[in-house]
């Protein structure tokens, strides 16, 4: 990094101070930059805007109409009084060329009177929803129970969704602009009085230090903000569900929105955060905990099943009991490959199916899943390329990896089994133990906004287990997790109205 910064320092574009005329000349090169001149009464008014950014209806009904009707009534009119006649909020009057440039590029119209050419009024005419989808159902993180509202590409809508449920003045939005080309609006949301100040400071500092050209999606930020960028594990939860983001905020985390991205980043996150689904909280706690544990088991199974198959069949065949040996020999007797090649072949097939399914349109993808899953699976068993048992194991492993609610984490889980398979192929069961050791050490080293990733396991926090492996009943999750070091530990005041049974009296 340092070498690059040294190399490129001299090439950095210098901030030139333009005059207003130079700016307008430059913008005029673009065909969608419009200039409307109107003459009403004594006033000669010119309006500049980008055709492609401005809502024409707003321009006609709120600006042009009012200017033409109201302006002639005034004998002397100063540009500061524009707010009196144009019914659009927050009209800004400025001489600063840089501000004018940014605002014009954001869909503002610039109004200028001929007698004071340097002073300009900026009116917001941006058509917020032009070209954006209106439908905000959360598609990728589905839950059967609970609200289905998800974030959309428009940051205004997203912030609105947040404010609607967190009705407190303590919800603070801090706005920043990021990206030398895209000038994306980034909003950092947190609840004042809950969030840990040090964490917030870290977040603000990290976000403001980012240097990038175009912020396409919040997941870019996710990588740029990471404490350790060379890790397959996602450092922060990114979700498109409103309820999940709100829950994170209430717990004392920070949420980062980027305009144009339907995903919001919440952090600091821990490993367990990636395996919680909002549905856990909508179901009774016993069911919620049960399904969460099923999910954890799914992860372990998905990571370990095929490596164990490789290890056992390559090196430790003594471990297979007599009764199980028959079916395994029967299904593997015609397979010409060593177990590791067999496993890699099938795992890569499944990865291909998944990748192809993700790239194709939904309707085709369904067909592909059926064709790929059934036909290829069945045919490869019949052609004796793989064994039946392995097919079951790999398919179950793939299924189990999809139970992870956060897509990024489920990708990670799908990835990390490949090194483990290789370890198992080289050193058998010992290799698996080595790999798990490596994994645990790696997870132990990871941090998310300076917060340990493996908490509450290591550093051990017994109290925070209430909402990690299991989803405890709500009486037990009244306190916020202590590893976030929230400034207010209690989420709400629990009523101590416990019903007494006759046996307690």
């Amino acid at each position: 990094m340092s070498i690059f910064s040294l190399l490129f320092k001299s090439n950095k574009p210098k901030q030139e101070t333009k005059t207003l005329q130079q700016l307008l000349d430059m913008l005029k090169q673009s065909s969608d930059f419009a200039n409307v001149q109107i003459q009403t009464g004594n006033y000669h008014v010119s309006i500049f805007y980008f055709d492609s950014l401005v809502d024409p209806k707003l321009l006609q009904q709120q600006v042009l109409c009012h200017l033409q009707q109201e302006l002639p009534k005034y004998t002397s009119f100063s540009i500061e009084n524009l707010q009196q006649i144009i019914p659009i909020q927050r009209i800004e009057v400025t001489q600063d060329v840089a501000t004018i440039e940014t605002k014009l590029l954001k869909g503002f119209a610039m109004i200028r009177f001929a007698d004071i050419p340097d002073c300009c009024a900026l009116v917001n005419l941006a058509s917020e929803n032009l070209g954006l989808r209106q439908n905000n159902e959360s598609e990728n993180e589905f839950s059967v129970v609970g609200p289905k509202v998800g974030f959309v590409e428009n940051i205004g809508t997203n912030l609105h969704l947040l404010r609607r449920q967190i009705v407190t003045p303590n919800l603070i939005f801090r706005e920043l602009t990021l990206g030398t080309v895209s000038r994306t609006k980034i909003v950092i949301a947190y609840i004042e009085g809950v969030v840990n100040e040090q964490t917030l400071e870290t977040v603000l500092q990290r976000v403001s230090e980012i240097e990038f050209d175009i912020v396409f999606d919040a997941s870019l930020l996710d990588q740029l903000l990471a404490d350790n960028s060379s890790s397959p594990f996602p450092p922060f939860v990114s979700t498109e569900r409103v309820d999940k983001a709100i829950y994170a905020l209430v717990e004392g985390q920070v949420a980062i929105f980027a305009d144009g991205s339907p995903y919001v980043i919440t952090g600091p996150s821990t490993l367990f955060d990636f395996f919680t689904s909002p549905e856990d909280y909508y179901l009774p706690w016993i069911l919620g905990s049960f399904f969460r544990m099923i999910r954890m088991f799914g992860v372990m199974f998905s990571v370990l099943a095929s490596p164990i198959y490789v290890a056992v069949l390559t090196y430790h065949y003594e471990m297979i009991p007599k009764d199980l040996l028959g079916p395994i020999i029967f299904s593997r007797s015609n397979v010409p490959f060593p177990p590791i090649l067999e496993v890699l072949f099938l795992e890569i097939t499944i990865e291909l199916l998944r990748e192809a399914g993700a790239r194709l349109p939904t309707k085709v993808a369904q067909t592909l899943g059926i064709v790929g899953g059934i036909v290829i699976g069945q045919a490869s068993v019949e052609a004796a390329l793989t064994s039946n048992i392995l097919l079951i194991i790999v398919a179950l492993g793939a299924l189990a990896s999809f139970t992870t609610p956060i897509y990024k984490m489920s990708n990670t889980i799908r990835f990390i089994r490949f090194p483990i398979i290789l370890f198992a192929g080289f050193w058998g069961g010992l290799g698996i133990a080595f790999a798990i050791c490596l994994l645990l050490i790696h997870l132990g080293k990871l941090q998310s906004f300076g917060n340990p990733y493996l908490v509450p396991l290591y550093p051990f926090r017994a109290k925070d287990f209430a909402d990690s492996l299991i989803r405890s009943p709500y009486q037990m999750t009244v306190k916020r997790p202590s590893y976030l070091r929230p400034r207010l530990l209690w989420r709400y005041n629990p009523k101590k109205a416990k019903q007494k049974k006759d046996i307690d009296e």
């Binding site: 058998g428 010992l430 133990a433 050791c437 645990l440 080293k445 493996l454 396991l457």
Partner: protein, 369 residues
């Protein structure tokens, strides 16, 4: 290094439990029944309790040494302050060599087990290399990561290996214990000396004491760690005494592993393969802790940065592990290290304790006057 900065590297007193226990429980527990049986027969459990009590006293002494010599010092500084620059550094160097050889014994013995039980044809260098690469990755993360590994090294084996031992109670002969006190006191004490190796490792606290937050308060956890080790050993010796008879156990080199052959689960046979694999979690923290201690000590002595000395130490360990190939050589190495360890525990720590406390008394008298 500023004090405020250093706070980030410290671990809570609670974790001393894991480092003490993790360092003690090593390869020894797989084979100590036979050695113990040769000396005290079925009365081995008494020796284990005696050895455990001795370790409790030694830990108490270690804490006293550090309390007497002031906050935030590790053994390197204490040695130099007590014995002068030359003798002190000689002692330090001796300790570091001892820790290094301790890591070597654990590494080599475990690789031997792998070679005997699982992979007879694989060379030592393979396992040694991968072990040390992993050690590099761990130790380069700092002391907190090493401690984290110790925690895993406690949880994972406790959940997977430990329950397997109880299957063999199905074939228990509880009368094997009788008669109790069949051996002389001298024999029992000799037996206690014989299990020194099983308790070795806790003395690494000499090195990492200054990395514990509120270190004096951690004594409780250190004592609990040792108590837990003693408890585990008692359970193991109990199970193996009731399972094997005295003649049988003489012919088994790794009685604990042989015990693990007993359990049968519908879909797994020969559980000992799982146990040997999972034993990585037991072995690995010890090696990491020892290597960390050595590099940490070097840093104090020569101001050589840990990141620089780490590859050198690992290379030495790797080369050394290739020298011991035969069973007898490994057994000899085992013997030498456990004897050295015995004298470190029984002579060095108590005499340092006496020295430091006498010195402190003189100093406080001097300051009173």
């Amino acid at each position: 290094m500023k004090q405020g900065n250093r706070e980030r590297f410290l671990v809570s007193p609670f974790f001393v439990f894991f480092t003490i226990h993790g360092a003690q429980l090593g390869v020894g527990v797989l084979s100590f029944q036979r050695r113990l049986n040769e000396i005290v027969g079925h009365d081995g459990w008494i020796s284990i309790i005696i050895a455990g009590l001795a370790v409790h006293v030694l830990i108490w002494m270690v804490y006293k040494i550090f309390q007497a010599s002031g906050e935030g010092k590790d053994i390197v500084r204490v040695n130099i302050e007590c014995f002068g620059k030359w003798i002190g550094n000689l002692l330090n160097a001796g300790l570091l060599v001892y820790f290094l050889s301790f890591a070597l014994v654990v590494l080599r013995t475990y690789i031997e087990i792998i070679q005997v039980w699982v992979f007879p044809l694989m060379g030592t260098w393979q396992f040694s290399l991968i072990f040390l690469l992993l050690t590099y990755y761990t130790v380069s993360g700092g002391f907190r990561i090493v401690v984290g590994l110790c925690v895993w090294g406690f949880i994972v084996p406790l959940l997977t290996i430990f329950p397997m031992l109880f299957f063999s109670l199905e074939y228990a002969h509880y009368r094997n214990f009788l008669p109790v006190f069949d051996h002389s006191i001298v024999d029992i004490l000799k037996g206690a000396k014989g299990v020194t190796f099983e308790y070795l490792g806790f003395e690494m606290i000499l090195m990492y004491y200054s990395f514990v937050k509120n270190a004096p308060q951690s004594q409780r956890w250190a004592q609990w760690g040792t108590a837990f080790t003693t408890l585990l050993y008692l359970i193991v010796i109990f199970i193996s005494t009731v399972f094997y008879n005295e003649e049988q156990i003489k012919h088994v080199i790794w009685p604990t592993l042989t015990l693990a052959k007993i359990p049968e689960i519908p879909f797994i046979e020969r559980v000992e393969y799982i146990i040997i694999s999972t034993y990585v979690f037991v072995i690995f923290p010890i090696i990491c802790l020892a290597v960390w201690a050595v590099t940490g000590g070097l840093k104090q002595m020569t101001s050589l940065k840990q990141r620089k000395s780490l590859p050198i130490i690992l290379a030495i360990l790797f080369a050394a592990s290739l020298f011991f190939n035969k069973r007898e050589e490994i057994a000899l190495l085992d013997q030498i290290v456990s004897t050295t360890g015995f004298y470190v525990l029984i002579i060095y720590i108590p005499s340092l304790y006496v020295f430091v406390s006498v010195k402190k008394r003189f100093q406080s008298k001097a300051s009173m006057q």
